[in-house]
């Protein structure tokens, strides 16, 4: 087992994820119903944006098309993260079922096993809604298209997904401490998602600082959108900041790693 290639290293995870996909698609009708359900969720979320703009023309410095872009970017990133690691905040359920102990006696890292223990394929419904809205927004908007713009969009989606994944992971780590505390972390995972799909200008400054530098969900959609659409940013959204989304992701993952470490150490009774 001297030279294990990357493909071979990842093989257990591919097999695990494939098995989850198979298990979910076993019952066709339930699967389709679930997908339709998340489509409904996506549409209902979009309805919120649409209803507001039925009453006003501008919200937080954004018109309807710009708001659509922010909505689409945040929902896309969140759906992807939710699909892959959304189940992490259900950690207490795994602990109660003895699954965590079962993971410990297998020759793989705990977090990796937990992440690949489920794959919510049904989120594809909500993902699709986000993609459609994204396409419409990008088509309707007055964008100065260039390779840089495309790169920024791709970077944003990838980093945004990373940020939300970090939030879910941090939530998971904290679940080792909190009893019945999944709700508490919901405030920041689902709350973070809700905040991300708004124009950050609607928030008073202290809240803006929070959603930009503490739980950095402003980087998922609004800050990049301002740059992509070439809108006049304000004191907290210079255009260059949009390219810092990967840094925000790194920060988020730093916190997530810390929470995870603390959580597992607590579970294993290490460190008092």
């Amino acid at each position: 087992m001297a030279d294990v290639t990357l493909t071979e290293r990842l093989r257990p995870y591919r097999v695990l994820l494939a098995s989850r996909a198979r298990a979910q698609m076993q019952y066709r009708t339930s699967f389709v119903t679930d997908i339709l359900g998340t489509v409904g969720v996506g549409l209902a979320e979009f309805a919120e944006v649409w209803i507001i703009f039925h009453n006003v023309d501008i919200l937080g410095g954004l018109d309807f098309t710009s708001a659509m872009l922010v909505f689409a970017l945040s929902n896309l990133a969140f759906s992807l993260a939710d699909m892959f690691v959304g189940h992490l905040d259900q950690l207490p359920r795994y602990i109660r079922a003895g699954q965590v102990d079962a993971f410990y006696v297998r020759p793989l890292p705990l977090l990796a096993q937990l992440m690949t223990s489920d794959l919510s394929l049904r989120r594809i419904g909500r993902l699709s809604v986000a993609l459609v809205v994204l396409t419409v927004a990008l088509t309707r908007a007055d964008i100065d298209w260039s390779p840089a713009t495309v790169a920024l969009i791709v970077l944003t989606v990838v980093s945004g997904t990373a940020i939300f994944s970090a939030l879910f992971t941090a939530a998971g780590g904290l679940q080792f401490f909190l009893v019945d505390g999944a709700e508490f972390t919901n405030a920041f995972t689902y709350g973070g998602s809700y905040a991300a799909q708004q124009s950050q200008q609607v928030f008073p400054d202290p809240l803006r600082i929070f959603w930009t530098f503490v739980v950095p969900t402003a980087f998922v959609a609004y800050i990049p959108a301002v740059a992509i659409l070439d809108l006049p940013g304000d004191h907290l959204t210079p255009h260059w900041l949009a390219w810092c989304t990967p840094l925000a992701a790194l920060l988020a993952w730093g916190i997530a790693g810390l929470c995870w470490r603390l959580g597992t150490r607590h579970y294993q009774g290490a460190g008092g």
Binding site: T29, S30, T33, D34, L36, G37, G40, V41, A44, E45, A47, E48, I51, I52, H54, N55, V56, D57, I58, L59, G60, L178, V179, D180, G181, A182, E183, F184, N186, A187, F188, Y190, G191, S193, Y194, A195, Q198, S199, Q201, V202, F203, P204, L207
Partner: protein, 297 residues
Amino acid sequence: MVHDVRHVPNVPLLPGAVLLGSVPLCARARPTVVKTFWLLVRAGFRRHSTYRLALLAGMTTNSVFGFIRASILLAALASAGTSIGGYDAPTAIAFVWWGQALLGTVNLWGFAEVKDRVRTGDIAVDFLRPIDPQLAYLAGDLGRAGINLIGRGLPAILLGALLFDMAPPPSAVSWAAGAVSVLLAVVVAFAGNFVINLLAFWLVEIRGITLLWMITGGLLCGLYLPVPWFPDWLRTVAHWSPFPSMLQNPIDILAGRVVGTDIASAVAVQVFWALALLGLGQLVLRAGRRRLEVQGG
């Protein structure tokens, strides 16, 4: 929108059989229906008060979502320059925080307990008890609503009132009517969910229906945006459904957007839906019981 779905604690309604089990079967000391009802309400209350940490966690979620929503509505109003749909800034704030406060009280997202008991056949035990199952489950739900109102609702309102310029209920009449309206809202939400759960008697998988109920309900009840802000056609759709009676109506009364004789009509609509859905529940329950007996439950 679904950000609020997992927001309400995943605590089951109440183990119907456990609570129903506290009702003696023997004729020796048969309490009156009213007394039994009260016992069940109290038990539901006590059961849910043990989830203190969960209540605290709920408070945090309430606050975060409340802040975000308040920011959005205030920004919308600022952008419009005038009131929208009868809401100005203070009433909009009241809308947000009464919404957060009542979110846990009114069981919008439903419960799975009844459907599970139908699936396993345990519902047959409920039919044997001297108290009507619908009434028993309603009692438990009222208890649950009570503890949530105090544990989650009160802090949410205090937070909103202290940190924001929130419109208070304009008069004692509004307070009283608001209380009645909240009670009716709980009943309407319960009754609707009860019927949905009972569909498990006939359908193997009610997942799709439950999802549809949750999603449409979430939108049309006025949790995220006030129903008066909806486009005309959507508002009509909402008013033909029981959902606004679950949240929008009590909020309207308590926020003071609805005053005077309009309060009476708001409450009347709720009474209509409460009676209609409870009645429907009785019919469906009876049909379900017949089906169970036919199948040899």
